[in-house]
Amino acid sequence: MKPTPNADREPPDKWEVQLRKGCLELAILASLWGGELYGLEILRRLASDSELIVSEGTVYPLLSRLKSLGLVESKWVESDAGHPRKYYLLTPSGRERAIEMAQIWSRFSAGLGRLLVPLGKGTAR
């Protein structure tokens, strides 16, 4: 997906903020699908693979909630950088939840997409 120009400069409207927030949980679970990552890697994955540019101060507390919900687990790993890093990985119930959320999302976005078809024609260049 190509990043929209000015996406970072435009003040997000309230609806967009809520929408992003609502999707963040799924985005984080999805970013861990391929294997374990530490916090900063998750942030980078979110920024590079989606337009979900979110504040760091939001992702870490959310990770800690996902952990208390049992959807992810974590472990400390020593790194070359000289300090340990906290890696997150999906638990079996986290995988289940991610699939479930992805299905809900697909159904929802396909349905809304059909409804939005006429709007797209109106703005087509």
Binding site: D8, P12, V17, Q18, R20, K21, L24, Y38, G39, L40, I53, V54, S55, E56, G57, T58, Y60, P61, L62, S64, R65, S68, L69, G70, W76, A81, G82, H83, P84, R85, K86
Partner: protein
């Protein structure tokens, strides 16, 4: 990786303020959060050049936001997780007590829930005890000297019959159980709803 002692001090000062905001959380959990944030700041500060610079540390700290609001997000997320995992009123009340220490809103919600659960327990107890103390358990209506009307619920633990007129009689058993249960359920819903509102009210800031 090397890092100047000045930057180190800045990181320590920031994390100390976050740690202060996490009071009330289990000490192990809070320590782990601080360790993770420290690791993040060091990685983030080093991300651009390989060496952590003072400017990098400042940017990393700025990216995390104010220490108070960061700690606030952690505690809210934890409250939410606990309330979601368990519907037990004991866990919920414990959570609300913590929340009460964090904000004025939490204080009032906690007070409301305390009242709700308290009344629910009294109503149910009243219904349960009625068969054992038929003359002293129930709801009594009396006119006060000032002319005001007062209702009192009596559990009948002492032998003296309360003053005034008993208004429900044996009806206290079904009514007490029904109202008590209803109040119990609605108090739980109210508490969970309030926590969700509180969480949704926090906007997601963008960098």
């Amino acid at each position: 990786m090397t890092i100047s002692s000045e930057s180190q001090k800045r990181i320590d000062a920031y994390l100390k303020r976050v740690r202060k905001g996490l009071r009330g959380m289990a000490s192990d959990d809070a320590d782990e959060i601080i360790a993770e944030l420290r690791s993040h700041i060091l990685d983030r500060a080093a991300a651009d050049g390989g060496e952590a610079t003072a400017a990098g540390v400042d940017a990393a700290i700025k990216g995390l936001g104010s220490p108070e609001s960061l700690a606030g997000q952690y505690t809210t997320e934890e409250l939410m997780a606990r309330a979601q995992v368990s519907r037990s009123p004991i866990v919920l009340m414990e959570t609300l007590f913590r929340w009460a220490g964090l904000s004025a809103g939490g204080f009032f919600v906690c007070l409301g829930a305390l009242f709700g659960y308290g009344m629910a327990i009294i109503l149910v107890l009243c219904a349960v005890l009625k068969p054992f103390h038929p003359h002293t358990t129930g709801v009594w209506q009396s006119t006060e000297r000032s002319g005001g009307l007062s209702l009192s619920i009596d559990l009948g633990m002492d032998s003296s019959t309360p003053a005034g007129k008993e208004i429900l009689g044996w009806w206290i058993i079904p009514i007490g159980l029904f109202l008590g249960y209803g109040l119990f359920v609605s108090t739980t819903r109210f508490a969970l709803w309030s926590i969700r509102q509180y969480r949704n009210a926090r906007e997601l800031p963008r960098p």
